[in-house]
Symmetry: C2
Subunit: 239 residues, 2 copies
DNA sequence: GTCTATAGCACGATAGAC
DNA sequence: GTCTATCGTGCTATAGAC
């Protein structure tokens, strides 16, 4: 919140029509041989990877451009050749991950058996928390802080996706395949429980001395979350 | 992560023995009349309240002391008379809230009926998310970022509390009063689902246009979370 | 495209009068 | 205790040589 919030339009790839300063993706003195393009893309990726790691631990304002450059193995100046500002790096990191973040929800099919489908969804979300904990934490930070940069995306793409899946869940309940539950609260519960293992990994480690790094713990987490959400914890004698 | 991490010992109330600079809590030129002490305490509280609101939205590094001073209705210099550094304010805010954050878990009694007790716990946690969303978000930010300042507290007090309650839950299961579930994963699930409504309020608002501010929504949230965790979502014909 | 050097400025923190 | 004024630092971003 401190200094600004995107003061000028960042000359990235998509938006602004008039970008005087040349950028690596675009034309340059050298012809863009496939080899060169690949180098450039690799460098961009290294920078974004480094930025993801740092932003996810310290947030936008807690990370300096110099740290990103160092972690990516480039000079600070060179980084500013690829990205016009720190905010532009931040947005690039977020938008690169959005699709992947939503993929598990997209993958749910209405025709599947609900209990199987939801079990699989939970498994996938925990796998994401396991393989991409930094991404999960960055989204968490961004949303907790009001998602100034993601809000629009949430209100359009995400809402559309969630509404569709909510209707699907309602259909399952209407067909007598699922207990009556508000679909949105169910989705929130699944998001919350699965992302918790990445976002609150520090707390879990402090309490248990382990985390999703440990495969056995990851399996136990998926198993317990599935059981709690699907079966509940009320005691039921074996029928 | 940027610049420092508590470079010098903050001359607050507890720790460091030698604090040359006088502080409002301690002796001053004026005798500490009850009236004066009360004024000072009120001011301190106003400052911490302002800091909580800002830190919870923008984190430690995204908040400036000038903003805190402005929100609290004091000058920046005056704020530095009460607190030696920004970090000291941050720590003071966190430690003021810790007890309250853990109170609902502490309140669970082993002799209670598990289903009732857990339902009540969920209700209280959602009430906390509703009445103290800023506190919940600040803890979320702090833990996501690795809880550099809370880690010790988590490893000692919190661990002790959680281990005790985990044993209690295991006792319920052993007594046939609760379905078999790993107590830690159950506690995580309850934390995650209930705190989600405060921490991800921005996302929920983007999706549904409402939140815990709305009492009806808050009731629906508590009701649905309780139902999901206690009963599960698998369809069961009425017996 | 990549470097060295530095401009420019916001911010945390302090000095010293009252 | 509170104020005005200011210092010093560390950071983002740019200029300009190569």
């Amino acid at each position: 919140m401190a200094r600004s919030a995107v003061t000028r339009d960042p000359p990235g790839k998509g938006a602004s029509p008039a970008t005087p300063k040349s950028r690596p993706g675009q034309r340059s003195a050298h012809p863009k041989t496939p080899r060169r393009l690949k180098q450039i893309e690799a460098k961009r990726t290294a920078m974004l990877d480094a930025a993801l790691g740092l932003f996810s631990r310290a947030g936008l304002h807690g990370t300096t451009v110099e740290q990103i450059a160092e972690d990516a193995g480039v000079s600070k100046t060179n980084l500013f050749y690829y990205f016009a500002s720190k905010e532009e790096i931040y947005v690039a990191v977020l938008s690169r991950l959005l699709d992947e973040w939503l993929a598990p929800l997209r993958a749910i099919e209405p025709d599947a058996d609900p209990v199987v489908a939801i079990g699989e969804y939970i498994r996938r979300k925990i796998l994401f928390s396991r393989t991409q904990p930094a991404a999960s934490r960055l989204f968490c930070l961004e949303i907790v802080q009001g998602a100034p940069l993601l809000k629009r995306e949430l209100e359009t793409s995400l809402k559309q996706l969630v509404d569709a899946k909510a209707a699907m869940i309602r259909g399952w309940t209407a067909a007598g395949k699922l207990a009556p539950v508000d679909p949105h609260h169910l989705i929130f519960a699944i998001w919350a429980t699965t992302q918790h293992y990445a976002d609150f990994a520090g707390q879990i480690d402090a309490l248990l001395g382990t985390g999703l790094d440990d495969e056995a713990f990851a399996n136990a987490a998926a198993e317990n979350v599935s059981r709690i959400i699907l079966e509940g914890i009320r005691f039921r004698p074996i029928p």
